[in-house]
C-alpha cells in the first residue's frame, strides 16, 4: 500500500500484496468496510476500558498488600 501511494499509483499500477483489496471487494462494499472499522474500534474500546479498570484495581490491591506486609512486620 505504502509503495503504491508513493508513486501516486493509478489503478493499473496498484499491487495488492496483502490481498486485502481482494478481500474487500469480494466480501464487503466500501461502506461496510468503513462500518467494520467502527465496529472494531468499539470492541477494542470495550476491552481497553475493562483492562484499564482491572489494572487500576490490581495496582491499588498490590499497594495495599504492601502496606499490610509492612505494618505487620513493623508490629513485631
Amino acid at each position: 500500500m505504502r509503495f503504491a501511494w508513493k508513486h501516486r499509483a493509478t489503478r493499473a499500477e496498484y499491487v495488492d500484496e496483502t490481498g486485502i483489496e481482494e478481500f474487500r471487494s469480494f466480501y464487503l462494499g466500501r461502506e461496510q468496510m468503513k462500518d467494520m472499522k467502527f465496529l472494531v474500534a468499539a470492541y477494542v474500546a470495550i476491552w481497553a476500558i475493562f483492562c484499564v479498570y482491572l489494572f487500576s484495581v490490581a495496582r491499588r490491591m498490590a499497594s495495599l498488600q504492601d502496606d499490610i506486609r509492612r505494618l505487620k512486620e513493623g508490629g513485631k
Binding site: Q32, F38, L39, A41, Y43, I46, I49, Q65, L71, G75
Partner: protein, 237 residues
C-alpha cells in the same frame, strides 16, 4: 459477600478459576452471537452489531447502580461496613459499564447519523447518570474516617439512585416534546437478535459479578490496613 476465610488470607484468590472460565465462555458466545450469528440489520448494516454489548452494558450498569442502593440502605440499617464495600464496588463497576455505553454510543452514532454526539434522550440520561456516580465516588475520596464516609456516601447513594428514574422520565418527556434531528432506533427486534442480546447481557452480568467481587476484596484490604494502622498507633502510645 466475601466469606471470612477470604479476609483472613490477604493473598488468597478472590475469584475462582472456574467462574472466570464460565464468564469468558459467555463472553465468547456473546461475541460470536453479536458479530456472526445475529442477522445484519437492514438499514444500519454492520455497525448495528455494536448494539448488543452497548445495550447490555447499560442494563448491567443499571443493575450495578441498583446494588449501590441496596448496599446503602442495608448499611444504614445494619451498620456493617461490608454493605458499604458492596456499594462502593458496585458504584465503580457501574461507572465502568456506563463508560462503555458512553464510548460505544458515539462510535455507533458517527457512521449512522454522521455525528459523534446527539442530545438524544438515552445518551443524555446515560451521561447524567455517569456524572452522578462519578461524583458519588469523588465524595467518597473526600471523607477520611471510614464510618463517616460510609454514612455520608450511603445517603448520597440513595438519593442518586432514586434520581435515576426521575432523570430518565424528565429527559424522555423533554426530548419527545422537542423536534429531534435524528431519532429512532425503534422498531421490533428479530427474535435471533433478542436471544443474542440476552446472551450478551448474561455475559456482561458475569463480568460485573467478577469485577464487583474483586473490587469488594480491595475494600476489605483497605479496611485491614486501616485496622493495622490503628493498632500500630495504639502500640506506639
Amino acid at each position: 459477600m466475601g466469606s471470612d476465610s477470604q479476609s483472613r488470607t490477604p493473598s488468597g484468590a478472590v475469584i475462582s478459576l472456574s467462574s472466570v472460565v464460565v464468564v469468558f465462555l459467555l463472553l465468547a458466545a456473546g461475541s460470536y452471537g453479536a458479530l456472526i450469528k445475529a442477522p445484519t440489520e437492514a438499514t444500519m448494516g454492520l455497525i448495528q452489531r455494536i448494539f448488543y454489548f452497548h445495550v447490555s452494558s447499560a442494563w448491567t450498569g443499571f443493575i450495578a447502580f441498583f446494588l449501590v442502593f441496596i448496599g446503602s440502605i442495608a448499611y444504614l440499617r445494619t451498620r456493617s461496613l461490608k454493605w458499604d464495600w458492596l456499594s462502593v464496588a458496585s458504584a465503580e463497576v457501574g461507572v465502568a459499564f456506563f463508560t462503555v455505553v458512553l464510548v460505544t454510543g458515539p462510535i455507533w452514532a458517527k457512521p449512522v447519523w454522521g455525528i459523534w454526539w446527539t442530545w438524544d434522550a438515552r445518551l443524555t440520561s446515560s451521561f447524567l447518570l455517569w456524572v452522578l456516580f462519578v461524583s458519588y465516588l469523588l465524595l467518597r475520596t473526600l471523607v477520611d474516617e471510614p464510618e463517616r464516609r460510609a454514612v455520608v456516601a450511603a445517603v448520597f447513594g440513595i438519593f442518586a439512585t432514586m434520581d435515576i428514574p426521575l432523570v430518565y422520565f424528565s429527559i424522555w418527556w423533554f426530548r419527545t416534546q422537542h423536534p429531534q434531528p435524528v431519532m429512532g432506533k425503534g422498531g421490533s427486534l428479530d427474535p435471533t437478535m433478542w436471544w443474542v442480546l440476552i446472551l450478551c447481557w448474561c455475559a456482561t452480568l458475569g463480568v460485573m459479578t467478577l469485577l464487583i467481587r474483586v473490587r469488594y476484596r480491595l475494600e476489605g484490604l483497605r479496611a485491614e490496613v486501616d485496622a493495622l494502622r490503628l493498632e500500630a498507633s495504639r502500640n506506639a502510645r
